[in-house]
């Protein structure tokens, strides 16, 4: 269930679509799903570290973001990553900000 709006079965994020004809996804079998999940978390963490936020996957079904003080937040849909991370950081993460761009380049 979506932790923000309460809708059931909402996690069909475009980056990880349900496997169906004509659609590009790596959400095809258990192995590729978990591999891509791990890659996604690693890629997100390269950006989130700018605000000292960490993302972890939990049991392949949910995500947990946490900050340096140990506060954390659990969510199920990948589409909530950035709102949840910004709420935890207390600040926005702007991909067009020079500081963020320079940070990402160094990772």
């Amino acid at each position: 269930m979506c932790s923000l709006c309460g809708i059931l079965g909402c996690d069909d994020h475009w980056t990880h679509s349900v496997d169906r004809p004509g659609v590009f996804t790596r959400n095809t079998d258990r192995h590729s799903r978990r591999t891509e999940g791990a890659r996604r978390v690693a890629a997100a963490n390269r950006v989130l570290s700018f605000r000292r936020i960490k993302l972890a996957e939990w049991q392949g079904t949910s995500f947990v973001v946490s900050n340096a003080t140990g506060a954390s937040s659990v969510f199920e849909s990948f589409s909530h990553l950035w709102p949840e991370a910004e709420a935890l950081a207390g600040r926005e993460i702007d991909p067009l900000d020079d500081a963020v761009i320079d940070w990402v380049k160094e990772q």
């Binding site: 475009w14 980056t15 589409s79 950035w82 991909p95």
Partner: protein
């Protein structure tokens, strides 16, 4: 899956007239039509005279702010009736109000847990009034958004406009949304209906690639809209791209009217087409083959109030690609 076409266009741009004509074509005989009543008089409804029992009239006024739930309810109702065998239809056309932004309806189709298993987006068809559109796009942001969100544009009232005005308007449309094919309302219905088919690949215009610079943008200051295209020779990491675009749309989706891209993904032989409207990204299409021309990634953004150069820098940084070219 039943295709849902969104028929949009500014007030008085001829949506209903077009719909009325299209519904007389045998190819549209099995279309279910949802129209949105605007204001107290359901004028659009009274003008539609061939809608059988397949019309559900939405009564709450503007589609943007209030009827997302009603769109969902109306489609759910259609689906129930069809499942029970009480009606049959092979496509749905939703006519929005003249001031509606197409994004919330597309989002409803994409996100609703039941609808997304039964209906798919068959594209946004925007009517553009050849007599008044030139003035509307200068003064009304909704008009620009509707044109930018279109998969296909239908020029209406061309018989009432001067030829030079029509050709000026065509060039304005090409600046706002270069990827959308334009037909005219005077074309025969087959031509227009052919444009309703979802098979139209969601890729940017491929004709200009060889003459384009690596990074190209057209700033239409008079319209407040920037059309910005990016050509990337290196293959793109799918995971990094997903993180970047998700974050970009989270922050700037309100100002990105439209984007379309065809990507050479690392490790994949066939290209992947990604397109969306504002915060919404459609399921990426795994294309069967590359279009003609060089096999490089291309993306087109239609933006308002964002410098293209910042997007380009951000893209290269997030993709871990070496950024050597400047904006042309």
């Amino acid at each position: 899956m039943i295709g849902v076409t969104l028929l949009t266009g500014f007030l008085g741009s001829g949506k209903t007239t077009l719909l009325q004509r299209l519904l007389t074509d045998p190819a549209m005989a099995n279309a279910a039509v949802l129209i949105n009543e605007f204001g107290e008089v359901g004028l659009d409804h009274h003008l539609l005279d061939r809608i059988d029992d397949n019309v559900v009239l939405m009564k709450s006024g503007c589609i943007c702010c209030t009827v997302r739930g009603e769109v969902a309810d109306a489609l759910m109702n259609l689906n129930s009736l069809r499942t029970r065998g009480e009606i049959d239809f092979d496509r749905v056309v939703i006519e929005t109000t003249g001031l509606a932004d197409p994004y919330p309806v597309l989002q409803t189709l994409r996100a609703h847990p039941v609808l997304r298993s039964h209906f798919e987006n068959a594209g946004v068809l925007t009517t553009v009034d050849a007599v008044n559109a030139a003035r509307q796009v200068e003064h009304r942001a909704e008009a620009v958004r509707q044109i930018a969100a279109a998969d296909r544009l239908v020029l209406t009232k061309t018989d009432l406009a001067q030829d030079e005005d029509v050709s000026a308007l065509r060039s304005t449309l090409a600046r706002i949304n270069p990827a959308a094919p334009v037909v005219t309302g005077a074309d025969d219905t087959n031509t227009i209906i052919a444009r309703l088919d979802p098979a139209l690949p969601p890729v940017p215009d491929t004709q200009d690639v060889e003459t384009h610079h690596h990074h190209h943008h057209d700033v239409n200051e008079d319209l407040g809209v920037v059309t910005f295209s990016l050509t990337i020779e290196e293959s793109v990491d799918w995971t990094d791209f997903g993180i970047w675009l998700t974050l970009l749309l989270h922050r700037y989706g309100d100002r990105i009217f439209r984007f379309k891209g065809i990507l050479a993904i690392a490790g994949e032989d066939r290209p992947v087409a990604v397109h969306g409207v504002q915060h919404l990204v459609h399921a990426p299409a795994h294309m069967t083959h590359w279009p003609n021309g060089p096999r490089v990634s291309r993306a087109v953004f239609i933006l308002e109030g964002i410098e293209p150069e910042r997007i380009r820098r951000s893209f290269y940084a997030f993709m871990g690609l070496k950024d050597t070219k400047a904006v042309a």
